[in-house]
Symmetry: C2
Subunit: 243 residues, 2 copies
């Protein structure tokens, strides 16, 4: 980016709207905090070598049949026959160390698929927020925060996180111009930051997860900086960025 330009940050609330926001020069941050992008950060923090995000269960199955580890989730439930779902707890421990893991999820991997041809695609969650924001401001590039949402609908938890990233970037540099989405999210984050768990108490996906007894997962996914890695897309693989 040339020096006379101000850094722009925009938020997109649905993978279906990505073409409307697409800009081949921007860095895209993929956001699916409950739980895909949190799980991805955990996997790399636990030594995973590569991940292969795929859109369909069939593709994930094909990788599994080739001998890879594979995770698959739909509607918040792990699909039978796969090694993992999308709980961050599935990706903790020695069993992921050095492995290549295929992954398909209801929302997060769909967002990655949508943004595949962007300048750079990185993975964001509360678990890596500080290292990610430190890195983002150093790149001097426009930023698009791509919320995975729920089946292409706006969701509260991804928006909350996009608001948190906006807040953190403004803390690190004043030289930013916020798009309308980020302007709104700033306020949202301001209201929520002292008690995000309470803020999310009426969120539709949280209700869904609580019914499935996944409250422990939600709590884990809201704790900042427990997996300080930046997964980045290189071709068809997510790898850990050297920082």
């Amino acid at each position: 980016m040339t020096q006379d330009k101000v850094l722009k940050i925009e938020a997109c609330f649905s993978p279906a709207l990505y073409p409307t926001y697409e800009d081949k020069e921007s860095i895209v941050v993929i956001i699916d905090v409950l739980r895909a992008t949190s799980a991805i950060c955990v996997a790399f923090h636990n030594g995973a070598e590569r991940m292969i995000p795929v859109a369909t269960v069939d593709e994930a199955l094909s990788y599994k049949q080739q001998g890879f580890l594979a995770g698959a989730e739909r509607d918040a439930i792990k699909i039978e026959g796969f090694d993992f779902g999308n709980s961050p707890y599935d990706y903790m421990g020695e069993h992921v160390n050095g492995q290549t893991i295929a992954l398909t999820t209801t929302n997060g991997t769909q967002a990655i698929e949508a943004a595949r041809n962007a300048y750079k695609v990185v993975i964001g969650s509360f678990l890596n927020i500080d290292v990610l924001c430190d890195w983002l401001v150093k790149q001097d590039r426009n930023i698009l925060l791509l919320c995975s949402g729920w089946k292409n609908r706006f969701n509260l938890e991804d928006s909350l996180y996009a608001g948190a990233v906006t807040h953190e970037i403004i803390k690190r540099t004043q030289e930013v111009k916020l798009g309308d989405g980020c302007l709104a999210l700033q306020y949202l984050y301001e209201m929520a930051k002292d008690d995000p768990m309470k803020f999310l108490s009426h969120a539709s996906h949280k209700e869904r997860m609580v019914k499935l007894n996944l409250k422990k997962d939600i709590r884990y996914c809201l704790v900042p900086n427990t997996a300080p890695v930046i997964p980045i897309l290189e071709g068809k693989y997510l790898v850990k960025l050297a920082i």
Copy 2:
């Protein structure tokens, strides 16, 4: 709606996402406060008999050639050769009384087009917010607040208004369940309500309009209840609902 069901309110931030939120049983409120839906309310308040919202300039032109009055706006500017743009001031006075007016705008009429087959489609703006919310709660139907946005992107002013409607409906009935979009907008409206003009000061479309010397329009479109009518879609026509 059966009596054991709770009224649901959801917000959709882009006409492009309407198919994701579509529900043939809901009442859809079309929102383009700067300025199409404000102008439509003003036209009916000034005695317009019918309006014909159309997606393209060609369609509007065709109505004009048939002898109808016709408004056309693109990128906040009135298209040459038409009777009106989308400024509410264009639709004030005796010249609209009893008339049928075709209208095409950058965003608002596109949202109407998207939702054309919904159970009921009504027009919302600050100018008719109280009569609209009074009517909405009486219908005992789910409500979808369809923000026109800006060329399918999220915008701040339509979201602010959707937040205001959410707030007003909750004031009128406790028996509501908010979707994630409305949950977020509640907070947004809470932050903005004391000084919406200031709240919108960084909004992209406001900047665009200020450049075009349209600050007077913005101010007008934010004043509640100056055009207490409910335009409703009947076939291809918008008409004034008898209330």
